[in-house]
Symmetry: C2
Subunit: 347 residues, 2 copies
């Protein structure tokens, strides 16, 4: 596993091997390359080059007398240095935009729709993290009295209603008191970042208004769940698409994937560090950090609310995936989603 910089011909051969293997799912032979791509050299020369690429760790041979397939490192080099980035056609862009425009404006539904759309377009498994709300703007809180000792706290942010929490108290609270507290909070916090609404300030308001200390717990719980900080829920769609790929002929491979998707936690860990990136990031094979996922790759793009990333949109497929295409697709969808969210903002 040395790492000499690749000369131009080696780079081209590596790229064509990736390209060809992605298309055919078969190990790529020297002759295939000379036939399909005009290399201007003989198969024997290509074999020599491929042997060196293998020594360098870019290619592997499934067995002695077979063609070559890319290794993790081979894909990595391809993605980072060799491939031509793709874009979407105007028609595709339009299609994405239109489908999202038709979606219902509820944020959760919008995320679901986006996930399905992306799963369909990529013909892979798509998953999208629900927005992290910390950076939303606080718009309104409303405490509603339901019974003498029960109530509902509703928090509205720039994304829409983002939390509703039932609470129960041990002593009676009047509807008027709840209204008073609601208005006080609205006056004080409206327009602030959600993360700037501090528990201590809520406590101050409550004691100023001479209300039950218990309310503090209820209100902060509601604010808490509006923020829903770590490991937010993840929507997934398109698992069935994976079954088209020859690498899933053996159904067992799918098992761990389905389990991981259902658990969500691992999924989130995989994409978490892509949040700060502003373009598509890719994790290839073992980079996913789990032996079970060793022959998969994930493309991730954050989506935004204004300037700030609030969630991520990912495509999971076999390592043998059309990287440039899927990166374009993810980026395009993220862009449309971001726009859609911006439009839906409550000003």
């Amino acid at each position: 596993m040395k790492n000499p910089p690749l000369d131009e011909r080696k780079a081209y051969i590596l790229a064509t091997v990736v390209y060809e293997y992605v298309a055919s799912a078969e190990p790529v032979a020297s002759q295939t390359l000379t036939h399909k791509y005009h290399l201007g050299v003989s198969p024997a020369t290509v074999r020599n080059e491929m042997a060196e690429l293998e020594a360098g760790g870019y290619l592997v041979q499934p067995h002695t007398s077979a063609g070559r397939i890319p290794s993790d490192a081979g894909y990595r080099t391809f993605v980072d240095e060799l491939m031509h980035p793709e874009g979407l056609t105007a028609a595709e862009r339009r299609q994405i935009r239109d489908e999202l425009r038709d979606a219902r404006s509820e944020l959760d539904d919008l995320i679901d729709q986006t996930t399905r759309l992306l799963g369909r377009l990529s013909n892979s498994l798509a998953f999208v993290t629900k927005p992290q709300a910390e950076m939303q703007v606080f718009k309104h809180i409303q405490l509603i009295s339901i019974g003498p000792r029960t109530g509902v706290a509703i928090v509205v942010t720039s994304f829409g209603v983002s939390a509703q929490n039932l609470f129960e108290l041990t002593s009676d609270v009047s509807a008027e008191d709840l209204t008073k507290l609601s208005s006080a909070m609205n006056q004080k916090f409206t327009g602030h970042m959600l993360s700037d609404v501090k528990e201590s300030e809520i406590a101050n308001l409550i004691s100023e208004l001479k209300l039950s200390e218990e309310l503090r717990g209820a209100v902060t719980a509601a604010m808490q769940s509006a923020r829903s900080s770590e490991a937010p829920a993840i929507a997934a769609a398109g698992a069935q698409n994976l079954l088209d790929q020859p690498e899933f002929r053996d159904a067992r491979k799918l098992r761990s994937i389905l389990r991981i998707v259902e658990e969500q936690r691992t999924l989130y860990d995989i994409v978490a560090d892509a949040m700060d990136n502003d373009v598509a990031s890719v994790k290839i094979g073992r980079e996913l950090g789990s032996e079970e996922l060793a022959d998969l790759s994930v493309v991730t793009v954050p989506y935004r609310f204004g300037p700030r990333a609030i969630g991520m949109l990912s495509i999971l497929g076999p390592r043998r995936m059309p990287y440039a295409r899927l990166m374009a697709l993810a980026a395009g969808t993220a862009k449309s989603l971001s726009q859609r969210i911006a439009e839906a903002e409550i000003k």
Copy 2:
């Protein structure tokens, strides 16, 4: 496919074939039966009986010299007439109750949890329809002003917050007017069934208060989505469990299942008519109405809010499933879920 009533011995043989096939996933031979179950007759006799059961349409033979497996009709007879109903042990009951008790009280989360639990316990794919809310009691509506022309309508029912709808108007409405309308509606409708809140009465209130006609649309839309009448969302979990079953060795079989689960609509059609039943209903193989699902079965049990069924909880697995066990599991879980929902009721 005649249908003579089965004599006792035939019935017993059919039952043991089902039992044995469910356990082993292998066609059942005459000798297996005489060995494992004390029939008091020889294999040859059993063979004669099995031949007649095959003529009657209860059994089929995968190939000439193989044992028998049950047909749809065989399973159906088994489920309807032959099998001994099972119950859950006290420990299992307790486990279910405890796991649901720990669940968060948000209704959606509760449904999700229940689905996962059922998927885990049944080692199959579980799915649960979200409650149909028509029969909920209206508790409260709150119209909140967010901007001069935008607002949020929040409807609280006995299940908790069941709808939040953003609305936008073409002319300004004051926060006071919204509060006025909210109180008027609360006074008039609190305690009524959701289905009894008629659009015309809302319109009356609005004109009495001399408010914009536009509000009528906004409010009725919110009431509408609180009711969310037909084909409600469905939570699913445990698809990976199916991969343990030998019938899914071939991954293609899973494809259509995953697609159908994702679509939801077909899933809902399958279970819809089980709503009125008050015990577990079973659909076997072709009874599911789709060639794709021909080797699957579904067990469905409604869950309740008070006396009324509000949703269904189902287990989908290979036709070769332990019916009595899964019916007990589904029924037990439905019962616990119903109780949990009753407890969470907002009085």
